[in-house]
């Protein structure tokens, strides 16, 4: 059988302010499983979206079997035999319809006539699943009753059913268990061998990639920085080095503060909607503790569980020697915990309320006389924090939705400063924030630690963790896999643990680095 090839030449994409893809030359041919690797924001997903026709604004050329093609819509891509299964499987399926209807949905939409050809639809769907050797899904089940892994299989079955030469899987294994991952690998290998399909496989788990892929492509800052065959000699170490490169961001100068006794202690915590397993950590007074890990490692779940927004199924949390029994975030706030969540606009601030109300929302009771809000106190409090945090707003009565991202984040932090909590938790606080505001936020967090509070700082930007924190826990698949003193850590070590590497790999690394 002839090999089919898909090739991009000098493909670039520019979003306002950033070059998401920079002259990318990428080639893949049928019968191989190709890994595309890169840190968060490296441009993997952007490139895959170009191939799937979901990024129509690209410049440069795409060639299929040597002929120039235009991928300006998902329909274009599908016609050319390029299919993609996104990570968010739920957005591509109709939960209230059956498996059969979901597999055949494209045909049903295109079909004419009014009669629903149930028999035919089920038969075709059954065949599609059988082709992938999937026997445990009944085509009459509703999608909403399937597990996440099964939904993924349904999507793959739909993608490869007709005319598929190139299948893109965007981080398919991130939410899967080990057994489910095995099953997926079987299917992927089968597609390569018997169906002659090229599978482009995006993953952060390097051990998996080494197992099933033939070749890998590493991306960084929108460019392809390396490409090589996978041989038994390939190690995660060399890939990690390529992912990181040697370019470091300008670092923030942390003012060291004296570190005291344990303030927060977490022992054997599990929960967070089943995403967290046996987590133990501790935070000391005046210490900034980093939580590293890639997207999906469980950092947000951990912070939300500590804040009692998610249920803790096992374990013990102690604050200043007292065991905490919290039912909801309201209890957590009473105990002295504060959380600045990742989804700022959705969770961190009340966008339709004023700056002044937001800055008092966490402890409005302190500004009240017998339940009646003392407006002067609220105003004074707001003025104080608008000044000290340099929040750029025309007046304190401005609605928060009209502020810039960085200033919204300052409001989200400011409300907890007013509440005078004991332990402050930050979840990706610099996401979508410009450089100036980023520095302000770092300084702010540094000041909080200097006041003898405990700080937990979760981020997937390792350079931030390395410049701001005293100690770093690395998370991988809902577990803490390493604890590092920041002084002794470097980007390579942290990244190595983040992708499931072992101490051995990283030790060699450190020796080499020294």
């Amino acid at each position: 059988m002839d090999k089919k090839t898909l090739e991009t030449k000098n493909v670039s994409i520019e979003f306002p302010g950033v070059k998401a893809l920079d002259d990318v030359n990428f080639k893949v041919s049928t019968g191989e499983i190709r890994a595309v690797i890169g840190a968060n924001g490296a441009g993997k997903s952007t490139l895959m979206k170009v191939l799937a026709g979901a990024n129509p604004t690209y410049t440069g050329d795409v060639f299929l079997n040597g002929n120039k093609v235009e991928l300006r819509s998902p329909v274009d891509a599908k016609k050319l035999g390029i299919q993609i299964v996104y990570q968010e499987v739920d957005s591509a399926l109709v939960p209230t319809l059956s498996v059969a209807e979901n597999i055949m949905i494209n045909e049903l939409v295109m079909s004419k006539g009014v009669r629903m050809p149930w028999k035919q639809v089920r038969e075709e769907a059954r065949k599609a699943l059988a082709r992938l050797d999937i026997n445990d899904i009944d085509v009459r089940t509703l999608i909403q009753n399937l597990t996440l892994a099964q939904k993924q299989m349904v999507l793959i079955a739909r993608a490869v059913r007709v005319n598929c030469n190139f299948l893109i899987l965007d981080e398919p294994t991130a939410p899967l268990s080990t057994a489910e991952t095995e099953k997926l690998f079987e299917i992927v290998t089968r597609l390569r061998d018997t169906e002659q399909i090229a599978v482009i496989f995006i993953s952060h788990r390097l051990d998996e990639i080494l197992r099933i892929c033939e070749k890998y492509t590493v991306m960084r800052n929108g460019k392809i920085v390396g490409e090589a065959d996978i041989t038994p000699k390939t190690t995660t170490k060399e890939i990690v080095e390529m992912m990181l490169g040697r370019s470091f961001e300008e670092t923030f100068q942390k003012t060291p503060c004296p570190i005291g006794d344990d303030i927060l202690k977490v022992e054997h915590l599990s929960g967070g909607n089943g995403k967290l397993h046996d987590i133990s950590l501790h935070v000391r007074k005046g210490e900034i503790v980093g939580i590293a890990g890639l997207v999906g490692a469980g950092k947000s779940e951990l912070l939300k569980t500590l804040f009692a927004a998610y249920k803790m199924t096992e374990g013990k949390i102690t604050l200043n020697g007292k065991e905490l029994k919290m039912r909801n975030p309201a209890d957590a706030v009473k105990e002295g915990l504060a959380l600045v969540p990742e989804e700022r606009r959705k969770e961190g601030v009340l966008v339709n309320e004023t700056v002044s109300f937001n800055l008092s929302a966490a402890n409005l009771g302190d500004f009240c006389v017998a339940s009646f809000v003392d407006r002067r106190k609220v105003r004074d409090n707001a003025k104080k924090y608008v000044d000290s945090l340099e929040i750029k707003t025309p007046t304190i009565n401005q609605k928060v939705r009209n502020l810039s991202g960085g200033n919204q984040q300052k409001v989200a932090v400011g409300k907890w400063l007013a509440a005078n909590s004991e332990v402050y938790m930050f979840d990706e606080p610099t996401k979508g924030v410009d450089v100036g505001a980023k520095k302000d936020i770092f300084r702010l967090i540094n000041d909080i630690a200097a006041r003898g509070k405990g700080v937990i700082y979760a981020s997937c930007e390792n350079s931030e963790l390395l410049s701001l924190t005293d100690r770093i826990y690395v998370m991988y698949s809902g577990r803490i896999v390493a604890e590092l003193e920041t002084k002794e850590a470097n980007d390579n070590r942290v990244m190595n643990f983040s992708v499931g590497g072992t101490e051995d790999d990283s030790r060699k690394e450190t020796v080499k680095a020294n």
Binding site: K346, E347, V349, L350, N352, A419
Partner: protein
């Protein structure tokens, strides 16, 4: 040159949107004023007189009180379809307390409020403990209220000259002056304004009120700010229940009896008043003053059109049109964001 022109153009568009925003923000008030002027011109003294003003206020009182109940529920983004059917139960409790058990007027009022609060526990149980969406839970409760209420009154009205539902002689056979005064001017009007005032102060000047609005704006962010969202949803429910009870009392005092399902028809008009009032003053959320304005607008229209001899059976169409216009003002402009 072109720079200044663009600037001037930008300025004028900004002004235009400002004027547009002003018109939309105050649409309900402008409409109310326009109605008053139009009816005064068309009908002269028969509309623009003190006695007719009192007519209008009296007519809108009950609807406003139910509107206030809905306002408090909707501030934290709740909803109560069963408010009116529960109010019928409150009315049965109030009149039966007075006639059957011989409580004083004040005693009957308290009895009615307690019964309503107790019955509202069921609503709160379904919404907070069982986590059923408000709309669905209260939809089911509508029927529960109707059935339970009529079982209590034995299927017939509670009024003077009737035996109790278990066939005994009632403790009273006549309604006293204080009982009847509640439903007449000036008391019914005073009670209406008191309810609006209490809700206004509660929602705008107390911690609890601000928390309810915060929940309505974004429940997740409110929760992660440490607001105990279940507790405050419960609080909103209890306050709503008190206003529902007041509404039921007004209806039965005004009607000198508690007729079967006497309050059920107030649900939609009261919700209409709340929706009309949502945009008043650019609040963009349900608010007590807005509800008062909305209710006044509907009542003024009804009153004026009746004086103009428009048949009563056409009036619902007018009410509906007002609601539709208010919703257009609230939502058609939203798309621009």
């Amino acid at each position: 040159m072109s720079g200044t022109q663009t600037l001037a153009a930008a300025n004028s568009t900004a002004k235009k949107t400002n004027i547009g925003k002003f018109l939309i923000d105050w649409a309900a008030v402008i409409a109310l004023v326009a109605c008053i002027i139009a009816f005064s011109v068309l009908s002269g003294k028969s509309f623009a007189s003190t006695s007719n003003l009192i007519n209008i206020l009296r007519a809108m009182a009950i609807n406003t009180v139910f509107g206030i109940a809905a306002t408090v529920t909707m501030a934290p983004d709740g909803f109560d379809m069963s408010a009116a059917t529960l109010a019928s139960c409150s009315a049965y409790a109030f009149v039966s307390g007075y006639l059957w058990f011989g409580f004083s007027t004040l005693g009957s009022v308290l009895f009615c409020i307690v019964v309503t609060l107790v019955m509202y526990q069921l609503t709160m149980f379904l919404i907070i403990v069982c986590r059923i969406p408000d709309m669905l839970a209260t939809c089911a409760l509508m029927f529960v209220h109707q059935g339970l209420g009529q079982w209590y009154i034995g299927g017939g009205a509670v009024s003077t000259g009737m035996k109790t539902s278990w066939g005994a002689d009632p403790a009273r056979t006549k309604l006293g002056t204080s009982f009847s005064a509640i439903g007449r001017a000036p008391w019914i009007i005073i009670i209406m304004f008191a309810c609006v005032g209490v809700a206004y102060v509660f929602l705008n000047f107390t911690k609890q009120g601000r928390f309810l609005y915060a929940m309505g704006g974004n429940k997740e962010a409110a929760k992660l700010s440490g607001i105990d969202v279940k507790k405050y949803r419960y609080l909103a429910g209890m306050i709503t229940a008190v206003f529902i009870a007041v509404g039921g009392i007004l209806v039965s005092s005004r009607g000198s009896s508690a007729q079967v399902m006497c309050c059920d028809d107030y649900l939609m008009p009261s919700l209409a008043a709340v929706f009309v009032g949502r945009t008043v003053g650019g609040a963009e959320k349900v608010n007590a003053i807005g509800t008062l304005v909305g209710s006044a607008l509907v009542s003024t229209l009804e009153n004026g059109l009746t004086i103009l001899a428009v048949p009563y059976y056409v009036l619902p169409a007018v009410k509906g049109a007002v609601l539709a216009l208010a919703l257009i003002a609230a939502y058609a402009t939203k798309k621009e964001d």
